[in-house]
Symmetry: C2
Subunit: 321 residues, 2 copies
């Protein structure tokens, strides 16, 4: 006899909470954790706060991504934004808005991965929200909070003429992974070569989280999380700072060459316009620190150039894509 | 010639942000507001954080609620949770996850109301997230942050035998308003009598936000935002505190009598089990302060009683409702 898997409809809200709260470990930074009207956090004088959401059918497909993958990607997206301010993530609030027909296992797997990975990163899951959604809808969201530990925040607006432009983390892998999946690659491809690394980076991205505060300490003048593509996010830094980012094709050659065996002629486009990479882009007065590679310089002007040619801000736009 | 109203698809993400950012006013508590990777808030040592979402079709119907109504309700839900900890709300992050076919006016009206009402309450809109959703989906979410201003948080777990149980704000009006709307009442009914007050409270609830910190200062031992019904939320306080809340039918008589002309025999049920009220329930050692009315006492035992009879925790359950 086969029994149907349990869904959220089969358990009460309090029963669901009883199943997932144990995944959210206590933390010294959290005075009151999940279960009251709100969480209470022990905070310093400068708290960084950001929020990002994912919805099934736009931000992931169940055919490619399980609950654990979604938890990893959502956590990385949010924590990368905190890191890009030069801050250390301390706590997250998590929201699940789900059709009651959603498998209970999905919610439990999501919560387990979120709790485990957050704990590994020293981040507390301090609270959240559970709500029901119409048929077929599954949406998850995180708000991440971070501590500047006394640093000044690193804004998008601080780049100055003469600074170097540098990146920490890969470029274009997520977009190349997406292209592979769209052309039929198995999402379970083992990450033991560039094709696998690209798929892995698309489904379960990791960001250089500790490099954000380290870059702030090293004097980064501007910083951004690369979520919508190098050109689009580069334009954001250029626009906010009132400068031009002049990128060097030579410096990007290695990134492009790495992806050519994966996506052929699309490699340059992945590097320049691929979203969801969650590497960090920053500008520094003087040399970039270890772990970063210089890809250009800050010039007077506006926008982004490649080998001197003006580049349009291609990349991900939520409502027009 | 009639032109179709603009939708989110007709503008870029940056153009939409340019239209809504002006509604979010600067605040001394916000060092970095919307537009960077994350907001930066000036915080005290104890920061309260909570999040709550609303999705079209479950939490509101377009036939009854416009974008401005949704903004009001979402803001109240979140700020009431902060108040129920004894804290003063300082900032919110706001998320809009929308089908690109959503009218641009909806997003603009939502942001305008949110910005105006937050400003009136001394709360900054510090940041947020815009994302696209599959066809027909419209979801909004807020994360609210608050400052305890040196107070200890008022938890659900602090009620002690001998305390009085008190409420600040109405009971059952939101549920009675919902019942009226479900039986065909005009959502634009003027709020100049009890029927109108009920509809108003369901569509555009206000919460006694300043009474939360005031209750904390007056020695509240436990407190909760009444979002899921007096019995269900009362059970939460009872369970967390290891006590029984013994409610007095005499004390609730006025609440019931007020709603009888509106919903007849359902009046008691609205008072006991009606959700989305966003009044505050608290326990006090000694008399409740001005502005609160005593509705019972804390006894040894468990659960909630009415006139000595044990009450089941009826009320809203997200996945079973």
């Amino acid at each position: 006899m086969v029994t149907a898997p349990l869904t959220l409809r089969d358990v009460s809200e309090s029963e669901l909470l009883r199943r997932i709260f144990p995944f959210f470990r206590a933390s010294p930074g959290v005075a009151v954790g999940p279960g009251d009207d709100a969480a209470v956090l022990r905070t310093g004088p400068g708290t960084v706060a950001t929020t990002d959401s994912m919805i099934r059918g736009r931000d992931w497909l169940d055919e490619w991504s399980g609950a654990s993958d979604v938890a990893t990607k959502l956590l990385t997206q949010n924590l990368a934004d905190v890191a890009a301010m030069g801050a250390r993530s301390t706590a997250v609030l998590v929201t699940l808005v789900a059709d009651p027909a959603t498998p209970l296992d999905w919610a439990v797997d999501f919560a387990r991965t979120l709790g485990e990975q957050a704990a590994d990163l020293g981040v507390a899951v301090a609270g959240g929200d559970l709500s029901s959604a119409p048929d077929g809808v599954l949406m998850v969201s995180i708000t991440a909070l971070g501590d500047l530990d006394g640093r000044a925040p690193v804004l998008r607006s601080g780049a100055r003429v003469g600074d170097v432009v540098a990146v920490c983390g890969p470029l274009g892998r997520s977009a190349a992974g997406l292209a592979l999946l769209q052309s039929g690659a198995d999402p379970r491809t083992q990450p033991d070569g560039i094709r696998g690394w690209c798929i892995e980076h698309h489904l379960r991205p990791q960001a250089p989280l500790t490099e954000g505060p380290a870059a702030a300490d090293a004097g980064a003048t501007a910083m951004i999380d690369l979520s919508d593509g190098l050109l689009r996010d580069g334009h954001r830094v250029a626009g906010a700072s009132g400068v031009r980012l002049a990128l060097s094709p030579t410096a990007l050659h290695g990134d492009v060459a790495e992806l050519e065996p994966v996506v052929g002629e699309q490699a340059l486009d992945c590097v320049l316009a691929g979203g969801e990479e969650h590497s960090l882009l920053a500008t520094f007065t003087g040399a970039a620190p270890d772990g970063w590679r210089t890809i250009g310089v800050v010039e007077a002007g506006e926008g982004v150039t490649l080998d001197g040619a003006v580049q349009q801000p291609r990349g991900w736009d939520h409502f027009r894509a």
